[in-house]
Structure formats: C-alpha cells, structure tokens
C-alpha cells in the first residue's frame, strides 16, 4: 500500500464530516442531496481502504451495492423534487413549511 491506511480513512472521515455538515446546514434541496451523495462517497472511500488493507474484495462489492443504491435514491429523490416543484415554485427547504420542520 503506497500510503498509510490512516490517511485514507482520515480523508474519508473528513469528507463524511463535510457532507454531514452540508446536509444539516444547507437549505437548498439539491445541495442537500449532493451532500448526502458526498457522505456516501466518503463511506465508499473507507470501504475501499479497508478492503485494500484486508486484501479481500468484500469491500469492493459493498461499494458496488452502495453505488447502485445511490443511483436509485437519486432517481427517486429528484422525482420527489420535481413533483414538489410542480405544485410549488420553490426548492428551498425553508419554504416547505406547510408541515412544520
């Protein structure tokens, strides 16, 4: 392995934190979705790192599953955004206030 494992996992933790903070603080729906994608990517990075450390491809298979799920989630999520947008001209979470947040 060309770099120490802690750098890989550390990078993954940093990206995960950025994604989490983004998902919790941003109010633009599409950006929240992208932050969640970033979190999933951070998870993938640590799976790949651990997989490399163990010398087993289990982690790689897990990553494939995560990528599949991410694609499915994005399709449904953007469908929801579109259906919401059809009924109301906004994609700001703060404007989604019919039900209190």
């Amino acid at each position: 392995m060309v770099v120490p494992l802690e750098h890989v996992i550390g990078l993954s933790a940093i990206l995960f934190t950025i994604g989490t903070v983004g998902a919790l603080t941003r109010r633009n729906l599409v950006v929240i979705l992208m932050s969640i994608e970033l979190m999933l990517n951070a998870v993938n990075l640590s799976l790949v790192g651990f997989s490399r450390a163990f010398g087993e491809v289990d982690g790689h298979v897990f990553v494939l599953m995560v990528i599949t799920v991410a694609a499915a989630e994005v399709a449904v999520g953007l469908g929801i955004v579109i259906s919401l947008f059809r009924n109301r001209d906004s994609v700001n979470v703060e404007d989604v206030s019919l039900l209190k947040w």
Binding site: I9, S12, F16, G19, T20, A23, L29, I32, L33, I36, M39, L40, A42, V43, S46, L47, G49, F50, A53, F54, E56, D58, G59, V61, F62, M65, V66, V69, A72, E73, V76, G77, G79, I80, V81, S83, L84, R86, N87, R88, V93, V96, L98, L99, K100, W101
Partner: protein, 506 residues
C-alpha cells in the same frame, strides 16, 4: 474466499421471492388489464383494476405468510443461504417477523383499494411499490450480513419514499415524501458509515464473524456500533431522532402512514434485535445504556408532545414514538424474557395501530382525510360501530386491562423490573398515564359531543370491514387469552410462540 455454490439453500429466500415476484406480476397485470375493455367478463374500470390488483397482491402476500408460517411451525434451528457466506437466514425470528410484515402489508392492500379511490389517486403502481417495500422488509428481517441488511433497508425505504408522495397533487403528500426521503437517505449514509467502520474493525460483514472479532476497546468498532444504532434510531423514530415522523405521518396518504407506522417499525426493530443479539452477543453495557437513553427520551417526548396535537394522525405519530420507546425498554434490558416481550409488543402493536388508522381511513371521503379532532365529534351517532372500534383501539394503546396493549406492557415492564431496571418502567408507567389523556380524548369527543361539520363517509367497504374486524378480534384475543384460551382457542398461544422464538436465537 470464493466458494462453491453447491451447498446453497435457496428455500431460505422463498418468502422474499414470493413477495418480489408478486410485485412483477402486479406491474405486468396493471399494464395488460388496464389496456383492455373487459377482463374476466367484467368491464375494466379504474375501481375494478384497483380491486383486482389489491386482491392479487394480497394473494401473494398470503402465500408468503403461509410459507413463513410453515417455517415457523417446523423450523428447528436456523438455516442460512450459503454456509460459507450466510447473507440471509431463516429461523423462527425471521418467520415470526415475516408473518407480521405480511399481515401488515395485506391490511394495507385491503385498506388502500377504497381509500385510494376516495382520494382519486388509484394507480396500479401503488401495489407494486407496496410489494417491493414488503419484500425489502422480509429481506431486512432475515439478513445476517451487513450487505444484505443495507440492501433490505433500502429496498424497504425507496418504494416508501414514493408511496409517501403518492398523492402527487397534494402538497402535503409531496412534502411528506420529501422529508421522509431526506431523513431516510441521510440515515442511510449514517448507517452505512457505521457499517464501513464495523467492517474495518472486524474484517467482515457477517454478523457471526463480527461478533467473534468485535473488540469493544477499538475506536472503529465503538464508533461503528454507535452510528449503526443512531441510524436505526432514525428509522424507528426514537427521540432525539424523531422530528421527521409527525410531519411525514401527517402528510402521507393514511394507508401509507399506517404501513410506515407498523410494518417499517416491526421490521426495523426485528433487524435491530437480531443485530443486538447476534452481532454483538451478550449485551454490551454501553449499548444497553444507549438504548436506555433513547427509550426514556422517546417515552417522555412522545407522550408529552402527543397531548398538544390537534390532528389525529399527528397524535398517532407521537404515540408511535412513545411506543418505540416502550419497545426500546426490552432492548435495553436485554434478557430473553425481555426480547420475548418485545416480540409480543410488536404483535399487539401491529393490530391496535393498524386498527386505529383503519378507522381514520374508513372515514376519509371526498378526496380528503378526516383527521382533525373535531371531525370525530359525535361519531357515535353517525357511525356507532366505527366509534366503538376506535375506542377499543385507543383504549388498547393506552394499555387498559382486557386488551392486548395491557398484556404487552405488563410483561415488558415486569421483565425490566426483574432485571433490576426500576427507572425505565417508572418512566414508562408515568408516560402511559399521560397517554390516557390524549387517547381518551377521542372517545370523549365521539360520545359526548354533537356531530359537526361535513358528514363522514357512511359506507364501509369489504376490505376495510375485514381489517377492522381482524384487528379488533386480535386485540381482544391477545388481551384476554395471551397464553391459551378455552376450546379451539387453545391452539392460540401467542406468549408461548414468542418465547420459543427467542429461546431458539442464541
């Protein structure tokens, strides 16, 4: 690493396969029948297609239920898909949970067919999505590997995101779907990070191997376990990860709400139970403390917040948060008896909660839910049977003796007391006392006030009637004869079943 596939047991996947196949059949059937003028000698109308698909879906779910019951009756231990890479297992816990999930889904099918007509959103995709979500739940409760666990959660959640937004022209439904989706996918990411860290700490995704390699002093292992529990806490809406639940429950079509409140919760709790037992073995003290905090917070917040609600669906949402708190007591206690009590609680919870929602659904008319408290004023005059049934279901949720709710809480609290947990049962009993106020508010409204506002729907469809009857009978039966009743009821030994289920887990 790569093993021969000659030893696999595909039969393990039978219930999942039946339900998943059902979704394909329903999808195709909708396309094929929807285009025709008449089918089986009847003119094809939207109502007819809806009823047909609802019937076909419940047939598939019923087959899955029978298969699971067969496993439950005959299964001595546990069989796994592939001994070298178990992935999914079939044991009594799986079979029990599969039965609950199937019952919940069948109820939803029956309730949906009239309700969707009333809301004018009757599309065949509803049943396909419902079956897909149910297949995800079945997979979730039989997962013994993090990968299948994750896939199960997602296969359960993704159709439900769409179902929550199924009333596409209704802004509240859109927003409900949106919130459920945002929280759900955020949760998935959290859960997944927990899984990745556990994989890093133990080198495996298989529960048994995780248990063998689990080292509670390892940072990765502890962080992974914590994130996993937080993820599940989101899924079951335990405080402080509950804020989404009332909004989502209120906005979603009520048939979907009842499905979310019941089936999702049952499968998530069973999966959590299996993780707690199988992957982390004898309950880790820290895990128990975590459950303790979640449980106490859920009971307090759920009950207090339910008091101030003006909408029945929101009230039921908070009450389901409180119920999640009660169930978490069992997980915090962590004895065999407590686990059995959890399963019994889930069984009762299924019937009394679906029953309450079924009444709300049966009242819906003119494209709208009747879910405000005022809508229930004087219901005993206009719909006396429904008023009586709703009274039964809320009384059961409050835990009055003679109903299943009482027995469930009783054995749960006594299991906790036996293990030396004093404060949790005390908090829970105080919480239940508070819950009397908001539960009994409904009967008081129904029986002491005059009807006001628009008249409710006056006829009950066959499906709704069936659900209401079944739930009422089950709630009473579980309350009066939890162990074994007289006559032919002697075959009905719910308490014994849940104890056997847990005893075989190990």
């Amino acid at each position: 690493m790569v093993t021969s596939t000659s030893l696999v047991n595909p039969s393990v996947l039978a219930p999942f396969g039946v339900v998943a196949t059902g979704s394909l059949v329903v999808l195709l059937l909708e396309v094929l029948v929807g285009k025709r003028q008449s089918f089986l000698g009847r003119p094809v109308t939207r109502e007819f297609v809806g009823t047909l698909l609802s019937g076909v879906s419940s047939i598939f779910l019923f087959i899955a239920l029978i298969v699971a019951a067969q496993f439950f009756a005959t299964m001595p231990g546990r069989i796994v898909f592939d001994p070298a890479h178990p992935m999914v297992a079939m044991d009594r816990l799986t079979a029990f949970a599969t039965i609950l999930v199937c019952i919940g889904s069948i109820f939803t099918c029956w309730l949906a067919s009239t309700y969707l007509d009333e809301l004018r959103i009757h599309h065949g995709e509803f049943y396909a999505l419902l079956l897909l979500a149910s297949s995800g739940m079945v997979l979730l409760v039989q997962s013994v590997d993090l990968v299948t666990l994750f896939m199960g959660i997602e296969l359960m959640s993704i159709p439900i995101y769409a179902l929550a937004g199924f009333a596409r022209r209704d802004l509240r439904s859109n927003e409900s779907a949106l919130k459920y989706f945002l929280v759900g996918s955020f949760t998935s990411a959290i859960l997944l990070y927990g899984m990745a860290l556990l994989y890093g700490a133990t080198g495996s995704t298989d529960f048994v191997q995780i248990r063998q390699a689990f080292d509670a002093s390892n940072l990765l292992a502890i962080a992974g376990l914590g994130l996993l529990v937080v993820g599940f806490a989101f899924k079951v809406a335990a405080v402080p990860f509950h804020q989404w639940a009332p909004d989502v429950y209120e906005g979603a079509p009520t048939a979907v709400t009842s499905y979310m409140a019941v089936a999702v919760k049952v499968s998530a709790f069973v999966a959590l139970l299996r993780i707690a037992i199988q992957a982390f073995g004898p309950m880790d003290a820290r895990l128990s403390d975590l459950f303790w905090v979640l449980s106490a917070a859920s009971i307090v917040v759920g009950n207090v917040m339910a008091v101030i609600q003006e909408n029945v669906k929101r009230m039921l949402a908070y009450s389901s948060i409180a119920n999640a708190g009660y169930i978490l007591i069992g997980l915090a206690v962590g004895t065999e008896e407590a686990y059995a009590a959890v399963l019994f609680f889930l069984l009762v919870y299924l019937f009394m909660n679906v029953g309450a929602f079924a009444v709300v659904i049966t009242l819906a008319t003119g494209g709208k839910d009747r879910d405000r408290y005022e809508d229930y004023a004087g219901l005993s005059r206009t719909r006396p049977t429904l008023a009586a049934l709703l009274t039964l279901f809320v009384v059961a949720q409050a835990g009055l003796p003679g109903t299943g709710g009482f027995i469930a809480k009783f054995i749960l609290f006594s299991a906790a007391l036996k293990q030396g947990f004093v404060w949790l049962p005390v908090i829970a009993i105080l919480g239940s006392a508070v819950s009397f106020y908001y539960y009994l508010r409904l009967p008081v409204l129904m029986y002491t006030r005059d009807p006001e506002g628009a008249a409710p729907r006056m006829e009950t469809s066959t499906g709704e009637g069936l659900v209401l009857c079944t739930c009422a009978v089950a709630v009473l039966l579980l309350g009066l004869f939890p162990a074994a009743g007289p006559g032919f009821l002697s075959h009905f030994r719910a308490l014994e079943w849940v104890r056997e289920t847990v005893a075989l887990l190990g």
